[in-house]
């Protein structure tokens, strides 16, 4: 039972982790905490729903169209909404993302209505069943898919940021934009790329979670909040921080939900996180100094 809950926690946690990753990448490179992040992903889920369920297009193709759309939204938001106030007021950028949240919620309502739309799992085969002395663990195939895709994305991201010239250039911009320019790095392009990556990750997270949550305007609210919390827990700094933050929140939440109270699982998880922040305000893996802010 405990193992089953921990496995379930890892699956949910892996979703929190990539949402946190997407937030952190955009934040590190451009200094903006994107409060519309989940809602940007939600729009992609609706795009998928439109192509797959309404038009009847192939699952995989619709999936990639939706992710490309997420990438485009990421690009457009950074370039058109945030760039103009970038050097004027960092606080404005945050509030613009809050405005964007309202707009996206309204747009979804306007176009697709308030109904919960269903999206089928990609994999519906028999669940993986592990038997051992203490009991059995059942993992549905869709959850294995989530775990696999998330792991692949994280590995790809680590390789990109650590091994490619462009990835290193992006990290350079995150550390010091001005010095990066002196190297000949087009920091403006890197900022766009960071939001394109962030936008596609957000879309991916929404598509992975959609079969469970259904598609509706606020579908990503809890994922967004938990993603934020995971990022904060990880110190809003690093990839490992986001992963550890996400997985631990996923596990805490599932255990609390099972053994304490289903209704209050978010509250309890948040309380634990606030407690951690009181002891260590810079997060679990964050460093005391803050470069952006």
């Amino acid at each position: 039972m405990v193992f089953q809950q921990i496995i379930a926690g890892i699956i949910t946690g892996s979703l929190y982790a990539i949402v946190a990753l997407g937030l952190v990448i955009a934040y590190k490179v451009t200094g903006v905490m994107n409060f519309a992040y989940g809602y940007m992903g939600m729009i992609s889920a609706y795009i998928f729903f439109t192509f797959f369920s309404m038009i009847g297009m192939n699952y995989i193709l619709s999936f990639f169209i939706a992710i490309a759309f997420g990438a485009f939204v990421g690009y457009a938001v950074e370039r058109r909404l945030l760039r103009p106030v970038r050097n004027i007021s960092p606080a404005s950028m945050v509030i613009i993302t809050l405005g964007l949240l309202l707009v996206l919620e309204g747009v979804a309502l306007q176009i697709w209505g308030n109904n919960y739309q269903q999206i089928p799992n990609l994999l519906n085969g028999l669940p993986l069943i592990l038997r051992f002395e203490g009991g059995i663990i059942v993992i549905p195939q869709q959850n294995l898919l989530i775990l696999g895709v998330v792991t692949a994305v994280i590995i790809a991201l680590i390789l990109y940021l650590n091994l490619t010239f462009q990835g290193k250039a992006m990290r350079a911009v995150a550390q010091n934009e001005e010095i990066a320019k002196l190297m000949g790095i087009n920091s403006s392009l890197m900022m766009s790329i960071s939001w394109i990556i962030s936008g596609s990750i957000g879309a991916l997270a929404a598509l992975l979670v959609a079969p469970q949550t259904f598609v509706y305007p606020d579908m990503m609210l809890s994922l967004q909040i938990m993603g934020f919390t995971a990022a904060v827990l990880g110190g809003f700094e690093s990839i490992p921080g986001s992963i550890i933050g996400g997985i631990s929140i996923g596990i805490i939440e599932n255990l609390v939900g099972t053994y304490i109270s289903t209704n209050l699982k978010t509250t309890f998880s948040l309380a634990i996180i606030v407690a951690i922040l009181i002891v260590k305000p810079e997060g679990l893996l964050g460093s005391a100094k803050s470069r952006r802010v």
């Binding site: 404005s92 509030i95 613009i96 707009v103 919620e105 606030v274």
Partner: protein, 308 residues
């Protein structure tokens, strides 16, 4: 005394609408949201902190007041004051740890707090769970039966006026200067020996108290509360009212509240989602009119000295 003159037009506002109680009740709502938005303004403009969880204090005020009045038959005026006090206590309890983090982190912590309060309210018996509390009686003020929206309007207006007097006193006092110093530069403020945590906490507590008071008025004006009324969108709306209207001024906050409360009624005949317009307004204001709608009306300069 001159600086209070701008209030006079608001005293006259209900006169043309005496025969339209529905319109008057909208004005009452605008007033109530103005109080809550002033609470937000105290935090953002004065202390430079962003909260996206103030709906929680609104909820705390609304529920405290409703439970006291409905379950314990406490007179409204006392329930009203207790709800402000209780919201303030919660504000301090939350503020103490929350203010150890700042900037974006505080935004995340307050967001978490807002969500948590909404969830907690939905669980307990005394708050009526997800169904909320119905039939909250309309308060009576001594000889007035406040079911008449004209009375409600003047009650709310008086409260705003009192808040305004207190705020303008504070802004010219030593504490006000300390708050401004803190907003502009934490390091500079620290250099001048300002006890940052104390002032931040004071701003947070004041913000919570004002929002709680507004929540109490809201509960009795609407007569029905449930957890879904106090969601993240409400927190965002409160922040947006401050920014859209014009931060740092009671007048600006009023304009913002009027915009956000009045708009849905104006557009109720059209099939258009309100949040789109609200969000677009917020973004457009930030991109093109950083000082808020007040700037359009060109009245900011007129009132600048009087307000903060």
């Amino acid at each position: 005394m001159k600086k209070y003159l701008w209030f006079i037009p608001f005293v006259l506002v209900p006169l043309p609408f005496l025969g339209y109680p529905f319109l008057l009740s909208i004005f009452v709502l605008i007033g109530i949201y103005t109080i809550a938005a002033i609470g937000m303004d105290v935090l953002t403009t004065w202390a430079g902190q962003i909260s996206i969880g103030n709906a929680a204090f609104f909820a705390v005020g609304a529920y405290t007041s409703a439970i006291l009045v409905v379950n314990f038959h406490v007179p409204f005026l006392i329930a009203f004051l207790i709800s402000g006090l209780f919201a303030m206590i919660i504000g301090i309890v939350v503020g103490l740890p929350a203010l150890r983090v700042s900037g974006f982190y505080l935004a995340v912590v307050t967001m978490a707090f807002g969500i948590a309060v909404q969830q907690i309210i939905g669980v307990f018996q005394i708050t009526g769970g997800y169904n909320g509390i119905r039939n909250i009686p309309v308060p009576s003020f001594w000889i007035f039966k406040a079911s008449n929206p004209v009375y409600q309007y003047y009650v709310v207006l008086t409260i705003i006026f009192l808040i305004f007097i207190v705020l303008s006193r504070i802004s010219f006092s030593k504490s006000g200067l300390a708050l401004f110093a803190m907003r502009d530069s934490e390091i500079a403020a620290r250099a001048f020996g300002v006890n940052l945590l104390k002032y931040k906490l004071a701003a947070f507590a004041a913000s919570a108290a004002l929002t709680g008071l507004a929540g109490s008025l809201y509960a009795s004006a609407i007569g029905f509360i449930s957890p879904s009324q106090f969601d993240l969108t409400l927190s965002l709306d409160l922040l947006a009212m401050v920014i859209v209207g014009g931060a740092g001024s009671v007048m600006g906050v009023m304009i913002g509240a009027a915009f956000f409360v009045g708009l849905p009624f104006l557009l109720s005949g059209y099939n258009i989602s309100i949040t789109i317009i609200q969000g677009v307004a917020l973004i457009v204001i930030l991109l093109f009119l950083p000082k808020g709608l007040l700037q359009i009306f060109k009245i900011r300069d007129l009132f600048k000295k009087k307000v903060i």
